[in-house]
Amino acid sequence: MTTIYVPCDTTALSLGADQVARQIQQRADQQGVEIQLVRNGSRGLFWLEPLVEVDTGQGRVAYGPVVPEQVTELLESGLLAGQPGHPLYLGPIEQHPYLQRQQRLTFARIGITDPLSLADYQAHDGFAGLEKAARLTPQQIVDEVKASGLRGRGGAAFPAGIKWQTVLDEPAGQQKYVVCNADEGDSGTFADRLVMECDPYMLIEGMAIAGLAVGATQGYIYVRSEYQLSQRMLDEAILRAEAAGYLGDDVCGSGQTFHLEVRLGAGAYICGEETSLLESLEGKRGLVRSKPPLPAIEGLFGQPTVVNNVLSLAAVPYILDKGGNAYAEYGMGRSLGTLAIQLAGNIKQGGLIEMAFGVTLREILEDFGGGSFTGRPMRAVQVGGPLMAYMPASQWDTPMDYEAFAALGAGIGHGGVVVFDDTVDMGEQARFAMEFCTVESCGKCTPCRIGSVRGVEVIDRIRAGDNRDDNLVLLAELCETMVDGSLCAMGGMTPFPVQSVMKHFPEDLMARPAPVEA
């Protein structure tokens, strides 16, 4: 029987995938053709979504992007038989250059499987890592993660193995927690979402391994409120994993307990900061805590807690299954393994690109991205989220490596790459960086709370041509005050995009002809 795949992730859905799926089923019924319709995850080739795949027994061929209005003509031109001919026909999807060039270790399954099918997951190496971990001592598990060189993918790039060791070394017999940071607030990022929507068992497996490693019996996944589909997928996946013995009172026959619960955030960017997140999980305002104490020692409800990003935890099943050394063979310098690059904004071929560290930004923008969406020259790229620098073309040959980016005053953050074409007004982008901080500051310290408000005002004056030179000096000083005087990176890094505009795009801070809108 012919199998038809229509993805069910947020991006595919946002472009009409449900309608496409319904229409294909209806038309097939009308024609009396028996098909099996599978709602798979997305492969992350987002410019091709909704990407419809057809398997007639000779491998999967694809068509995309399929808008609902085109379903009829596609069926008439032989979609159900996987026939070429239609302009949307893409051929065997696994040979697509966008996928062929990637090194998908973590995202090996996305788009291939039905996200909630345990059988699919198991058939593609699923739970192999957890089964191994169940037979190891906690120290052996932590050693494997250390050997992989895995650094936290949430932004700070702290070595995951060392964090786990700290929690493991806290006296046993007390309550410990594993908390997954699924707040994914950075514009330009969607890899956490892809994991949760398209391969949720991978995250569950990674967290269960973390639980065994540090002796934690309870885990929480803190999902941002914008990701309610992720929440529903995870809730269902947790139930099924529990029923199958991968979670609960005896994880994989290890005799260890690990329970998992999803909690929803409530629209606060700062709750991605780990201590703010813990406050929020405790049912409080998300005010940032001062460190020390580290969450590894006094975390959730004052107990030792591993806090890791979705992608950090999602890398762990591979590491346990294939070995830390196998993972560490990828990458460069101290940035080992693969990075989930999320290509977004004004780009022709946006999507998920998992590559070993070391690929240059230009390769991502040009070879994968194919240039801007509008066809105009690209002008600025913001890598690493709203708190990171805007990079001009002269910096695009930099390899994606934590240290190489840091040397430029830039950062990789969570791996988001947001592209702007030459119509961008960088003065407006600088203003937005400050404005975002006024909206999202937790309010605990003055340089961040008040400084950002002043930042917006000063940039408005500069753009209005009001005492430009004096106000530029003022802006530079204000940025320094925020960098030096803020408790966390929200206030401490908001100046980075602003400073990068002052340095690399100063011409955009000249007076603007029209007044700026609020």
Binding site: T11, A17, S117, S187, L229, R263, G265, A268, Y269, F436
Partner: protein
Amino acid sequence: MHMSEQNNPQPEASLAAGDWTPDMIRAEVNALKHKPGALLPILHAIQDRVGYIPEGAVPIVAELMQQTRAEVHGVISFYHYFRTRPVGSHVLQVCRAEACQARGGRELERHIQTRLGVAYQGTTSDNEFTLEPVYCLGNCACGPSISVNNEVHGRMTPQKFDRLTDTLTTTVLELK
């Protein structure tokens, strides 16, 4: 698998201000208060049920949670997602973040405000739409994006937006 069907329950249109009872709030609190750090799940449950968190719910939550009203207020006001006023039939969120800006998000934002005649946090006079800003919907390769009752719509244009609002309001009229 039906998880993908975007048919989230949304606050029923008939639930306007006053359409809640203290017992309703108590039931939500009592169902969840055993959980560690239960306040956010409770506030979510109330908002899911009523459409917003009524002022009058605060003392009830505070009493059952053995917290002060000020504490509960403080939590509600900290989070952008929690609303303290009733909303229109459809909650429309417009992504204001960078990746959408790079694809015409600012123009779209202006178009939407003009077309609906409301600013952020406002509700149209016919009570159809409440407009809210949002900072990233995780759909950043296919922007600009908006969400309607928690369903994301990508590659939005002013024309597509007008068609979408027409469809939404027409459907509602037919149902009446």
